[in-house]
C-alpha cells in the first residue's frame, strides 16, 4: 500500500472523510491497530474505580497482607540487614580513618648507638639544626702508614 492509502485509512477511522476504502488484509490490520490504540488511550484516561460492591474484597486483601507475618529470613529482610551492616561498617571505618590517620612524619634523625673498635679512639654525636653529626677522634699516627 502507498503512504497515501495509510493516511486515507486513518482519516476514515477518524471520520474525517467518507471515502470508501477497498478492503484488504493490510487495511484491515491497520484499522484494527488503530482501534486498539484508541481503546488503550481511553483506558488510561478513565482510571479504574473501586466500586462499592468491590470494596469489602479489596479491604480483605489489604487486611490479609497486613496480618500475614513476614518470613524471618526473606530475601528482602536479608538485603535490608546487609545494607544496614555495610553502612554501619562504612561509617565505623571512615571514623577510624579520620581519627587515627597516618603516623606523623618524624622531624629528626635518631642515633641508637655509636661505637669504635680502635683502641684509644673516642666517638660521639650531637644534633644541631636538624643535622646529626657523628665523629671519631683518632690520632693521625693511627692512619699514617
Amino acid at each position: 500500500m502507498k503512504r497515501r492509502d495509510w493516511k486515507m485509512i486513518e482519516a476514515n477511522f477518524d471520520g474525517e472523510v467518507k471515502a470508501v476504502l477497498e478492503a484488504g488484509p493490510e487495511a484491515a490490520a491497520w484499522h484494527g491497530a488503530l482501534e486498539k490504540q484508541r481503546a488503550g488511550i481511553r483506558a488510561v484516561h478513565d482510571p479504574a474505580v473501586i466500586q462499592d460492591a468491590q470494596f469489602p474484597a479489596f479491604m480483605a486483601g489489604i487486611r490479609e497482607g497486613m496480618e500475614t507475618p513476614q518470613p524471618l529470613f526473606s530475601r528482602r529482610r536479608i538485603y535490608a540487614a546487609v545494607s544496614m551492616a555495610a553502612a554501619a561498617l562504612l561509617i565505623a571505618l571512615a571514623t577510624f580513618a579520620v581519627f587515627t590517620g597516618s603516623p606523623e612524619p618524624v622531624k629528626a634523625n635518631e642515633v641508637e648507638r655509636v661505637y669504635t673498635e680502635l683502641e684509644g679512639a673516642t666517638v660521639g654525636y650531637d644534633q644541631e639544626d636538624g643535622v646529626t653529626t657523628l665523629w671519631v677522634n683518632i690520632s693521625r699516627d693511627d692512619v699514617l702508614q
Binding site: 538485603y79 571512615a94 580513618a97 612524619p105 618524624v106 669504635t116 679512639a121 636538624g130 657523628l134 692512619v143
Partner: protein, 164 residues
C-alpha cells in the same frame, strides 16, 4: 532496587576497607632505601674565604664550621639499597664505608647500620672498625660523619635519606 543498593553498599564498604588497611606506599618502596651520599675532602689551605668545590651545593650548609677552608668532592652517589643488603663504598685508599638498611619505620624513618673501616697498615693485618653506628634516618635530614684523617686534612661523609 534492593539488589542494586546492597551491591553498591558492599562495593563501597570493600573499597573503604582496602583504603584503610592497604599500605599507602607501594610494596617495592617499602623494601628499599634511597640514600644520597657525599664524601668530601676537607683541607686547610689558608684561604681568606672558604672554598667549596663543584657538586657540594646541596650540602654546603653542613660544611659551615668544619675545620678546614677548602672542601672538595671525592664522590657523590645516590644509592638504592634493598633492605637487609649491605653495600660497600670505597671512600679513598684507606677508608671503606659499609651501609645496610635494616628496616623502615611506620613514620617513614629508615633504620640503618653503618660502619667505616680503616684498612690495616700491614698487608697481613685486619681492617679496624673505626666508627660504627645504628641510626634512624628521617627523610631529608642530613647526617655528617667526620674525623677520618688523611695525610692532609680529613674526609667527611654526608648522607641523607630520600623521601619516596
Amino acid at each position: 532496587l534492593g539488589k542494586y543498593f546492597t551491591g553498591r553498599c558492599l562495593a563501597i564498604t570493600l573499597a573503604a576497607v582496602l583504603a584503610v588497611f592497604c599500605p599507602a606506599r607501594p610494596a617495592a618502596a617499602e623494601e628499599q632505601a634511597v640514600i644520597s651520599l657525599w664524601v668530601v675532602h676537607a683541607t686547610e689551605e689558608n684561604r681568606e674565604k672558604p672554598f667549596f668545590g663543584r657538586g657540594l651545593e646541596a650540602i654546603r650548609d653542613v660544611m659551615e664550621g668544619l675545620p678546614g677552608d677548602t672542601f672538595r668532592r671525592v664522590l657523590n652517589q645516590r644509592n638504592v639499597i634493598p633492605l637487609h643488603k649491605e653495600i660497600r663504598i670505597r671512600m679513598d685508599s684507606r677508608y671503606t664505608l659499609f651501609l645496610k638498611p635494616v628496616s623502615r619505620e611506620e613514620n617513614g624513618r629508615i633504620r640503618i647500620d653503618l660502619r667505616v673501616e680503616l684498612d690495616p697498615k700491614k698487608p697481613d693485618g685486619k681492617p679496624v672498625r673505626l666508627l660504627g653506628t645504628r641510626l634512624a634516618l628521617a627523610p631529608g635530614k642530613k647526617v655528617k660523619l667526620q674525623g677520618f684523617k688523611k695525610e692532609a686534612g680529613e674526609l667527611i661523609v654526608v648522607m641523607v635519606a630520600q623521601q619516596e
